[in-house]
Each structure stands twice: as C-alpha cells, then as structure tokens.
C-alpha cells in the first residue's frame, strides 16, 4: 500500500493538495493510505520549509506548490509498483 502524506497546517492550498492527490490516485486506481500532517514540529522533521508538501513512502516529493495531476500519478506509479 502506498503511504501518502500531505504536510501542511490546514491552509487552503494544503487542502487543495489533499483533494488533488486523492483525485489523482483514485482516478489512477492506485491503492493508498493518506495521512495529513498538521503539526509544525512534525512538518519540520521532514526538512520542509514551505508547505503544502507531498510525501510518498516517506520521501518528500514536492514542497511549496501543488504538483500537476500527471506528476502525482507518475510518482505514485513509480512507488506503488516497487
């Protein structure tokens, strides 16, 4: 199961990233488990300095922006099959 984390304190963009990630992964039919990380201490532990950030299988893939739909899907494919 793909472990997905959305890092962000709950700002509008963080919610958007969560929505878009869910939409992308659902559409691609990839099984995943999504956790929202909202505590600043936990976010900082990932070394992220601007949110929202997207993490898959404990790897930080983007920060401070919302990646494109296709980008999310291709990251997920690379990691779901591994």
């Amino acid at each position: 199961m793909l472990q997905v984390k959305v890092l962000g304190s709950g700002c509008p963009n963080c919610q958007r990233l969560e929505r878009e990630t869910r939409a992308a992964l659902d559409e691609a039919g990839i099984g995943y488990e999504l956790v929202k990380v909202t505590e600043f201490a936990d976010i900082a532990a990932y070394g992220v300095m601007s949110t929202p950030a997207l993490v898959m299988n404990e790897e930080v893939l983007s920060s401070g922006r919302i990646p494109k739909h296709d980008q999310i899907v291709s990251w997920a494919h690379e990691r779901a099959s591994a």
Binding site: S9, F40, A41, A44, A45, Y46, M49, S50, S62
Partner: protein, 352 residues
C-alpha cells in the same frame, strides 16, 4: 497525452509560452496607455457630465482608476510571482547561514520582502532557519519584513502614488527589518521561542526536493495561477476602496485633512500606526482611500506609516506567529515593529 508532451523538446513549448505571454503583455500595454481617453469619453462625452462638476470628477476618477489599478495589479503580481518561482528556500537558507549579523540581516530581510507572509511558509521557514543555527535576530529580519512588504500594497502604491513612493515603501520595509532584527537579536530572546522549535531535528533528507528545473511554461503557469488567486482575493476591496477614494476626490474640500493628518500634527503618525494595527483584511481597500486622503492635505509619512501598520501588524499574523513564539515575544515583536514604523513615518514627514 501529458506524458507524451514531455518528450517534445522543451524549447518548443517554451517558445510558444513566451509568444503568448508577449502577446498578452502587448494587449496589456495598449489598454493601459489608453485608459484616460476612454474614461474621459465615457464620463464627459457619453454621459455628458461637466468636467467641473464633483459628480463628473468623481466618476471620471473611478472609471479611470479601477481598470488601471486592476490591470497594474494583474501585470505586476504576475511578474512578482514569476520572480518567486526562481527562489529556492533551501538555497537561500544555505547562503544566509554563512553570514553573520549585519549582512545576514540584510539578506534575510530582502528575502522576506519577496516572500509572501502566510501560514504556509512563514512558520516552517522560521523553524528551518532556527534548525540551521541561524541567529534569532537574522530570522527576525525575515519575519518582520515579510509581512510589511505586501505585493498588493506595493502595486497599489505604484499605481496610486507613483514609483518613488513604492520604492520608499520597499526600502523602508527592508531597513525596518534589518534594524529591528538587529535590536531583537541583541535582546537574547531565545527563551521566548516555543521549545519544540529547538528540539526538532530534520531526520530525513528532502530527497525528492532536488527537482529538475521547471520549464518556462511551468513557471508561467504557476505565476498565472498565483496571480489569479491573489487578484481574485482582493479585487472587490480594491474597487470599493477606489469608489470611496473617488468620492473623497470629488466631494471633500482640499486641505480638509491638513489639521489631523498634516505634517505639523505631531501625534498623527503614532495615531495612524495604532489605528492600523487592528485593520487588516481591507489592506487592499485602504490604500486607495488613503491615496485620496493624501490629495486632501494628509502628510506622506503619516499615510505610509498607516499603511505599513495595516499591512504588517494584524491579528491573523499574530495567530500564525503564536505557533512558534511565546506571547511575551509577540508583544516585543509588535512593539519593536510599531516603533520602527512610527520612526519611519516621522522621517518621511521630515524629509518630504
């Protein structure tokens, strides 16, 4: 479909993106330079209002200013957000880390000037700076200039007051950050920072963050997206603000404000700063009103101080900062920033 486009040479899509942006810039330029004749024609020819009447002047001012400011806002915010796509927070931190007080403060403050202040970036960035062992004073330089320098405020000043005032705003925002940061740095305030900030250890290297360089098309897209977001949030306030400003412009007599906001009224600067602290969400609407006040005898320093205090010190910002700073430090922070703004206001009133 989209996976296919990645195989096309980047140059091609980039060239098309440049072409489109260039074309839009051209349309923008033509529109922007013909607003006064259009406004004149609408008010004086089409509606047949007299050039001398208060109604005619107010309406003309409104019809000219609204599209002008909205165009300027869209164009400039696009450029600013485009510039922001080139800023890499990790790299900035690495550069600031090597500098001591002084140069470090200036760099952190400049960095704060171009970064928007929001819960999305400011708190994680604060923690990131502290983690890297960057002195608190330098981190504060960032934390002070970032909210003072608001891109919407900057553009409105540019459009309504001219580039000199906008530049003055920029320079004083950075100077306030540097000076206040250096003062705060001397005060040894580490104990008023929430403990967890010092305990956090980044235990994972942000591997994926070494992303490939975005193409110009991607930069343009990101800037367009952010522009839509920012302009979408403020346009209504701007129009309302210009509406009230237009009313002041046409109906309030000249010199009406000289007594309370003029250069010779010593208490007007601190009063303006105090008044500005609780005002926030209407920053976009306040500036057009304030600009009309300037035409009625208010002093520039007073007006700038008011505006900076509206933009820089606000409840939402304090709520964000509360996550990492203890109340005592927030109070000190407000005090130092407010004081710096008051001094800046007096300085401008003296000089201009």
């Amino acid at each position: 479909m989209a996976t296919n486009t990645q195989h096309f040479p980047k140059i091609n899509t980039d060239r098309r993106a440049f072409l489109l942006v260039g074309l839009l810039a051209l349309v923008w330029g033509i529109l922007y330079n013909n607003l006064q004749p259009i406004a004149d024609w609408l008010t004086y020819t089409l509606l047949g209002l007299s050039r001398e009447s208060a109604v005619g002047q107010s309406l003309n001012f409104f019809i000219y200013d609204v599209p002008k400011i909205l165009l300027l806002l869209t164009g400039m915010i696009f450029l600013i957000t485009l510039a922001q796509t080139f800023i890499n927070t990790e790299r900035v931190r690495a550069v600031v880390e090597k500098r001591g007080a002084g140069v470090g403060n200036v760099m952190a403050s400049l960095f704060g000037a171009i970064t928007p202040f929001c819960s999305c970036s400011s708190v994680p960035l604060f923690i990131g700076f502290v983690q890297a062992g960057i002195p608190l004073g330098i981190t504060f330089s960032f934390l002070i200039t970032s909210p003072i320098m608001n891109e919407v405020a900057f553009v409105l000043l540019l459009g309504l007051f001219g580039w000199q005032v906008a530049l003055m705003y920029l320079v004083s925002g950075v100077v306030i950050g540097v000076v206040a940061g250096m003062i705060l740095g001397r005060l040894k305030l580490e104990r008023y920072v929430e403990e967890f900030v010092f305990q956090v250890r980044a235990n994972r290297v942000a591997v994926g963050l070494i992303e490939e360089k975005p193409t110009w098309l991607e930069r343009f897209e990101e800037a367009a997206e952010k522009t839509r977001e920012i302009v979408g949030k403020v346009w209504l306030f701007v129009i309302i603000g210009i509406g009230i400003g237009a009313f002041i412009h046409g109906f309030i007599p000249e010199d009406a404000l000289t007594g309370i906001m003029g250069q010779d009224t010593w208490w007007s600067v601190p009063a303006a700063v105090l008044l500005g602290i609780p005002l926030y969400s209407n920053a976009a609407g306040v500036i057009p009103i304030v600009s009309a006040m300037l035409g009625k005898g208010a002093a520039l320093g007073t007006v700038l101080a008011f505006m900076m205090s509206v933009v820089a010190l606000s409840l939402p910002e304090m709520i964000i900062l509360r996550k990492v700073l203890k109340p005592r430090l927030i109070a000190i922070f407000i005090g130092v920033v407010a004081l710096s703004i008051v001094v800046t206001g007096y300085l401008f009133n003296l000089v201009v």
